[in-house]
């Protein structure tokens, strides 16, 4: 049975709900179910409910008048059951070109791990990853599920610029850079998709709760997809399951 979260005020604009559990795909479902239940409870309120690994933050505008009454309602809320709440999960295929022209640290990482580049790519494309939340940079997905054998520290000297779509590894995390940026991550490939577009109807390609799998593609296909994306000619490969 899911535990009850600790509820506290977060300055004047926030209410924080923290669960005492480790993050996992199962516990993410608890968070997202609680989020859905709160959004239903506080319908019509001007509040954003944000999840991270093990917490929810309710963000209010400074002028909000319901923060204290909402706080009381949250304290009385039943977090033990989430009846009638279904979290739909998508499995999204994310194409990545693992050519060394993009994977600036592929050869280094393969030699450090004493495996071939092919074996390293196989380890990265095998798992199903979970998108826990978007943060750090606009559109940057925090992913869980990296094969432990691929974990590796950040570069000692960060690069001043890596390209949009760069796929990297840092400690036990893997991620995709939505835009060109300075970065200390070990870069192993590039994704031709646009993860973030502020003027699109849906600014982010991915959202909390999504599951993704990386698909290895060649340089030619990378170029084809990259050209097709801005005109909307690339169709994202997804499958949906409820669970």
């Amino acid at each position: 049975m899911p535990k009850k979260p600790a509820i506290s005020h977060f300055g004047e604009c926030g209410i924080l709900l923290q669960w005492d559990f480790d993050f996992s795909p199962e516990n993410l479902k608890v968070l997202l179910s609680a989020k859905a239940k709160i959004e239903r409870l506080l319908e019509n309120r001007d509040v954003e409910v944000l999840n991270t690994y093990t917490a929810l933050l309710l963000i209010y505008p400074i002028a909000a008048t319901t923060r204290f009454s909402d706080y009381k309602q949250l304290q009385e809320m039943d977090f033990s059951t989430f009846e009638n709440i279904v979290i739909a999960q998508r499995l999204v295929e994310i194409p990545v070109c693992y050519d060394t022209c993009f994977g600036l640290d592929l050869e280094f990482l393969a030699s450090e791990k004493k495996v071939s580049i092919e074996a390293l790519v196989a380890m990265h494309t095998e798992p199903i990853y979970t998108v826990y939340f978007i943060g750090f940079l606009p559109g940057f997905p925090y992913l869980g599920g990296l094969d432990k054998r691929l974990a590796f520290p950040r570069k000692k000297t960060p690069r001043s610029r890596i390209e949009k779509g760069a796929v990297g590894i840092a400690e036990n995390q893997t991620g995709i850079y939505p835009q060109a940026s300075p970065a200390g991550w070990q870069i192993i490939g590039n994704c031709p998709l646009t993860l973030f577009n502020p003027v699109a109807d849906k600014p982010c390609l991915l959202k909390a709760g999504d599951q993704i799998r990386f698909k290895s593609i060649g340089k030619q296909e990378h170029e084809t997809i990259k050209k097709a994306v801005p005109s909307g000619d690339y169709k994202l490969q997804t499958s949906t399951e409820n669970g």
């Binding site: 954003e48 944000l50 917490a55 933050l57 750090f136 600014p203």
Partner: protein, 285 residues
């Protein structure tokens, strides 16, 4: 449509409104006026929506040519402002005529001034806000020679209306109101005392994303699992540095969140000049 031209933009001048709501789930910071109190005041004195887009002027001011008539109001930091040869005061609405030039001279008190225009600035709305932010809007600050459209041309206020006398003591005060942060309980007694007794000197590297200080506190705490942050969240790095996240700050972070500034605390720290010092004052003990 009325319009103005920036003859020179000043040190850092940008378009801001109240910022973005509901975009943390995309990893997009709120942005918006650093001192939201003064920005709303400038707008309200012009009978604008308090959320209307205006100019945030940091440290050194711009020179602006008004190509059409409109009314304006300045709030927040006090500069030596002149319209042609006429001295302009803060917190008062003025009618500016076509061809007039407004110069922001020396900075006298505070750090960020707000210049509001009747009707507000007309610029692209991205994710529900006109606030400029790198990667979201096309530009993140204004450039020399830039033209800006202003929405309310015809409606100019009657200048003879009284100037409102505001007490700016709260905004210009170096006592910054805080609450305990989500990880405050991880600090030991010595750290808690140090935190509330030390005068912290603002570093010159402070900006719209974060304010940092010269002084450190002893610290043995490491990072936390990445967690949500808001404007006004004070993080403690493993080196003992404090980072006050401001309006353009990241929506998540991996350092313990030891304090949370009150809304007036955020407004007040936005008016502190780098090199000067502040002290944190716990609101609820």
């Amino acid at each position: 449509m009325a319009d103005i031209t920036l003859i020179s933009p000043g040190f850092y001048t940008s378009i801001q409104d109240r910022g973005r709501r509901g975009t943390a789930k995309y990893g997009v910071p709120q942005a918006g006026a650093m001192d939201a109190f003064s920005a709303a005041k400038a707008n309200l004195l012009l009978n604008n929506d308090p959320n209307a887009a205006l100019l945030e002027i940091t440290f050194s001011g711009p020179k602006i040519r008004f190509n059409t008539a409109m009314s304006i109001c300045i709030s927040g930091a006090q500069f030596n402002v002149k319209c042609n040869d006429r001295q302009l005061k803060n917190d008062k609405a003025y009618i500016i005529n076509a061809g007039d030039q407004v110069d922001f001279g020396t900075l006298l008190t505070g750090f960020r001034a707000y210049l509001a225009f009747s009707g507000g600035i007309e610029s692209p709305v991205v994710l529900g806000s006109r606030s400029q932010y790198e990667g979201i809007t096309t530009h993140f600050r204004l450039k020399k020679g830039e033209n800006l459209n202003i929405m309310g041309s015809g409606k100019v206020l009657n200048e003879s209306s009284a100037r409102v006398q505001f007490s700016n003591s709260k905004i210009l005060d170096n006592k910054i109101e805080v609450f305990a942060g989500a990880e405050y309980h991880l600090l030991n007694t010595v750290q808690k005392q140090q935190l509330l007794k030390t005068e912290y000197t603002l570093l010159a590297s402070s900006n719209r994303m974060a304010i940092q200080f010269k002084e450190k506190i002893e610290n043995k705490l490491y990072g936390i699992t990445t967690a949500a942050t808001l404007p006004g969240t004070v993080q403690l790095t493993p080196q003992g540095e404090l980072i006050v996240l401001m309006r353009d700050g990241q929506v998540t972070g991996g350092y313990p969140r030891i304090l949370q500034l009150s809304e007036m605390g955020i407004n007040a720290i936005a008016q502190q000049v780098p090199g000067k010092s502040i002290i944190f004052e716990m609101l609820i003990k």
